[in-house]
Structures are given as C-alpha cells and as structure tokens.
C-alpha cells in the first residue's frame, strides 16, 4: 500500500493530477462550513462550566422536552420499522399496477420541504380536517396539538428511511435460500422468520436508527402540528428555538450540544450497522 513508500515518492508516482488542489480545497471548505462552526458549539457550551451545564439540562422544562423527543421519536421509528419493511416487501416481491409510481412517491417526504409537510399535516389532522375530523367525531381524540400529532408527523418524515435501506437488501436476497428451505419442508412462516428476516435485520435496524435520528432533530414538520406547549408538546429542537428567541444563547447552546452528541453517537451506530450489513451480505 501507499504507506510503505516515502510520501514524496508516492506523490510523484501519482499518474492523475490535481490531488493537492482538490484535497486541499475539500479540507478547507469542510473546515470552514462544517467543522469550525460545530466546534464553536462545543467550545461555547463548555464555557458555562459543569454546574451550569447540569443546571440547564436538569431544569424541568428541558427534561420534559428531552423525554418527549426521545419517546415520540422512538415510537415513530418503531412504527416506521414495521410499515417501512412492509412497503419494501410489497415493492420488491409483489407485482401490481402502479408499483413503479408507488416506488417513486415513497421519497415524497424527503423531497417535500418540512414547513409544507407541517402545515399540510396540521390541516389534515386538525379536528375539522379530512382525517382529524372523522377521528374526532368517532373517538373524541384530538390529533393536533398533542404528542399524537407529533408522532404522526415523525412517521411521515421517517418511513422512507426504512423503505430505502431495506429495499435494496431484499432485492439482492438470493431467492434460492427460500426455495431450499421450502424444499426441505419448512413452512412459509418458518422460511420468513429463519431465512428472510435475519438477513434483513442489519438494514432494518439501520433504517430504524436513521428514522430515529431524523425524528430527534426534526423541526419544520412538527412545529405546526405540536402547538408548542412547554412541558406538554415542546420537542427539543423547538425548545432550542424558544431559548434563542428569548436571547438565552447559553441554554440554547448547551441543549444543542447535548443533541449533537446524541446525533454523533447515532451516526457511529449507523456506520457500525452498515458495516455489519455489508459483512452479512458477503456470505449471501
């Protein structure tokens, strides 16, 4: 490999030009736009000291926001895990009219700006909306301005993640394993649970984690439907916004830094899951 030759020699041995220019530009641009601003967040957050940090995080309003964000995001990602896998299964294994159209429109939540998703979902699920209306008259439940509304918005923005991670794995899955299982006397149910699902687990968990991470940070699609009541329907990104509006920069920074650390841990987890999936894929 390149490591065994001296750097100056390796540099001259490169046939293609432009390594210094492109890598230099990449590193400078990455540092200016991403790394330095994110570092500023941590430097600023650490500036308030350990006591201030603990006091900010442990205040009831902040704790309530964290609890709400984590629980609703988890439930939404869990529902997405099942619905997304079903959608991927249907898209890969079944043939029906409109399949390609459905395949294309699965990405709609990715393409639609979050603010538009927010007002559209609020309009539908409000007590006089197309879905919120019948639900309200039948059950008396209110969907908007409740954690349930936040959950619906997070399901909307998260499910494409699961579909798009499970779909390619399912498409590559060698059908002969299922045939072998069937010919050896396994029932369809046994084949699904012992052959198919184990192969899908890394991809499905990756999709779940991606949906969860996105849900934790989501702002635009939630802000309209949640009603933004402190302690009740205030998610963490919204709380950061509220603190900023009141010029509480330190509080906003500390909360954002904690969220960023959570995101980085999730990113690490996603990388690990993807590596696991690749390893598994090599044996199929």
């Amino acid at each position: 490999m390149t490591n065994s030759v001296p750097f100056s020699l390796w540099w001259r041995r490169q046939i293609l030009p432009g390594f210094g220019l492109t890598l230099g530009f990449t590193l400078v641009y990455l540092s200016l736009i991403v790394l330095i601003p994110l570092a500023a967040l941590f430097v600023k957050a650490s500036g308030i000291g350990f006591d201030g940090l603990v006091r900010t995080i442990l205040s009831p309003r902040v704790l309530a926001a964290f609890q709400l964000s984590f629980s609703v995001s988890f439930y939404a990602a869990l529902v997405n895990l099942f619905l997304g896998t079903i959608l991927a299964w249907v898209l890969v294994r079944y043939r029906f009219p409109g399949r390609r159209f459905l395949d294309a429109i699965v990405d709609f939540p990715f393409a639609l700006p979050t603010a538009v998703a927010g007002i559209a979902l609020t309009a539908i699920y409000s007590p006089n909306g197309w879905i919120g209306g019948p639900v309200h008259t039948l059950t008396g439940w209110k969907l908007t301005f409740t954690p349930l509304g936040i959950f619906l918005a997070l399901v909307f923005i998260g499910f494409p993640f699961v579909v798009r991670t499970v779909q390619p794995v399912l498409a590559d899955l060698n059908i002969e394993f299922e045939e072998a299982a069937a010919s050896l006397g396994a029932s369809r149910l046994q084949t699904i649970f012992r052959i198919v699902i184990p192969e899908l687990i890394p991809a499905a968990l990756t999709g779940f984690t991606l949906a969860f991470a996105r849900a934790l940070g989501e702002y635009g699609s939630v802000v309209f439907i949640s009603g933004n009541m402190p302690m009740k329907t205030e998610i963490v990104p919204l709380l950061i916004m509220m603190e900023l509006d009141q010029f509480h920069y330190t509080e906003a920074t500390v909360i954002a830094a904690v969220m960023l650390i959570v995101s980085l841990v999730l990113l690490f987890l996603i990388n690990g899951l993807q590596r696991w999936g690749k390893l598994k894929g090599e044996f199929v």
């Binding site: 890598l23 079903i86 249907v90 639609l112 979050t114 309009a123 539908i124 995101s263 980085l264």
Partner: protein, 284 residues
C-alpha cells in the same frame, strides 16, 4: 414498462399465501394514500380554496414575490458552491488513496446528522451580535446574521453532502483507466477532467444537484434561526409560508407552499427518470 419478473411467481412454496399478500398490499396502499396522497392533495385543495384568482393574488403579493426571489438567489449561490465542493471532494477521494479517507467521507456526511435548528445556531454563535466575530463584524458594519450571508451559510451547511455523496461512489466505481489513457495520450489534467470525467459522471452530478437544490429551496429550521424573519427582506419561501400561516392567511400559506410542492414533485420525477435510466444501463 412493467415486466412480470420470474422471481415472485417461480414456485408456490416461496409465494406468500394470498391472504398474507392481500393484507400486506392493502396495508401498504392504505398507508401510502393516508401519508403520501392525502397531504399532497391537501396542499392544493387549501391553496385553491378561493379559486384560481385567489391563488394568483396570493402569489402576486410583493412579500411573496420577494420571498421567491430570495429563495432563488440563495439556491443560486448555495448549490454551485456545493457542486464545486462535491466535484473536488469526489476527485480527491475516488481517484487517490490517502490515510484518513474513511474519516473524511464520514465528516462530509456530518451535516445530515445535525438538527436543522442546530445548523442555524452554530452560525449565530460565530457571527451573531454576541458571537465570536460579532464585535468585529459590527465594527466593520457587516451583517451576516439576520441577512443574506447568514441564510446562504446555513443553506450551504444543510445541503453540504448532497453532491459529494452522490459522486464519491460513482467516480470510485468508474475507476481511472480512461483518465490515465487520456493523460498518456498527452491531455493535460483539466482536459482530462472536462472531456473524460465530467461527461461520464454527468447523470450523477445532475442527480446530486437536483436533490441539493430541492433541499436548498425548502430548508426551514436552519434558515429560520439565522434569518430574523424580516418580511420582504430575509424571508425565504418556507419562512414566508410560516408567516402567512401564523397570520391565519391559509390560502396564502398553502398557495406559496404549493410552489415548493411542485418543486418536490419535479424533483421526484427527475429522480425517478434518472434511476430508471441508470437501471436500464445496467445489465439485468
């Protein structure tokens, strides 16, 4: 063109029993209708509540016009910036081996893991009135936060990975044999890039650019933090949607939102066409 794939029909033993198929298919379709088509319809239904004249009047208002212009301007700066970065980064990463390459690839994806609100906040911490460079900027009378430069920076941050993450795997899989042949025949680096690499990667570049553009025009949370919501001056289309909605001008909000919805649909259409094109190019 819909072809009947041999896979699902191959053997009754590996076919799901028909009740299972029916339940899964109905689940998928009901979910798609509720979560994809109903929100899509709702946007246009609400936008045309006062008919076509009401719709056009809402779009024609000066504040709407200036929001549209600002969004176009921001995208016109942010998308080319990230395009140049994406091309440079993918050239360095795909054509050369160097230590730390996988770390660099992960760092490029980092902005996707950051909450939009945090993405805006970091620039407030750097350039805001009480930020690191705040005193310096105000001494020189330069405005970044609550002005165009802040909106552009936040947009560049959130759309940072789109082109690069599309091009890195593409250029890697294409290898550099053709570039080496061009160079050995006497072409210089730029000629090789413009005549060999760029034409080969054009669909990947287009794909990355349309995704980058859709997000740049639709970004809400990050831009909301840095813009200051000055009507007619620093309101982009998504921010203007929020302003109108909070003013109870629902027709106006949904009319402006419908522009972004059309953009999302066009983005999905181009994406689907490019995906099918790519699938056609591959041996099946």
């Amino acid at each position: 063109m819909e072809t009947i794939s041999p896979i699902p029909m191959r053997h009754p033993a590996i076919r799901d029993p028909w009740p299972v198929r029916a339940v899964l298919l109905i689940t998928a379709i009901v979910f798609a209708v509720l979560f994809l088509f109903v929100p899509l319809l709702a946007v246009f239904y609400e936008a045309f509540q006062k008919g076509i004249p009401g719709y056009l009047a809402a779009l024609g208002k000066p504040a709407s016009q200036s929001a549209i212009q600002l969004t176009l301007l921001v995208a016109a700066i942010a998308v080319p910036a990230n395009l140049i970065f994406g091309v440079a980064a993918s050239w360095a990463i795909a054509k050369f081996n160097f230590p730390g390459k996988t770390v660099l690839i992960s760092l490029i994806d980092l902005p996707f893991a950051v909450s939009p609100v945090t993405s805006g906040l970091v620039f407030v911490l750097l350039f805001g009135a009480r930020g690191w460079f705040g005193p310096l900027l105000s001494a020189w009378n330069i405005k970044i936060i609550f002005a165009l430069p802040g909106i552009v920076l936040a947009t560049i941050f959130v759309t940072f990975p789109f082109v690069a993450r599309e091009l890195i795997p593409l250029l890697t899989s294409q290898g550099s044999d053709e570039e080496q042949a061009a160079l050995s025949l006497g072409a210089n680096g730029w000629q090789t890039f413009w005549r060999i690499t760029l034409p080969k990667a054009r669909w990947g570049i287009l794909y990355g650019v349309i995704l980058c553009n859709a997000r740049a025009m639709g970004e809400f949370g990050a831009v909301s933090v840095v813009s200051g919501h000055i009507r007619g001056l620093t309101n982009t289309i998504p921010l203007h949607v929020e302003v109108l909605y909070n003013d109870y001008d629902y027709v106006g909000a949904f009319a402006v939102a419908s522009l972004l919805t059309v953009l999302a649909l066009i983005t999905l259409l181009i994406k689907a066409l490019l995906t099918w094109r790519r699938a056609d190019l591959l041996p099946d």
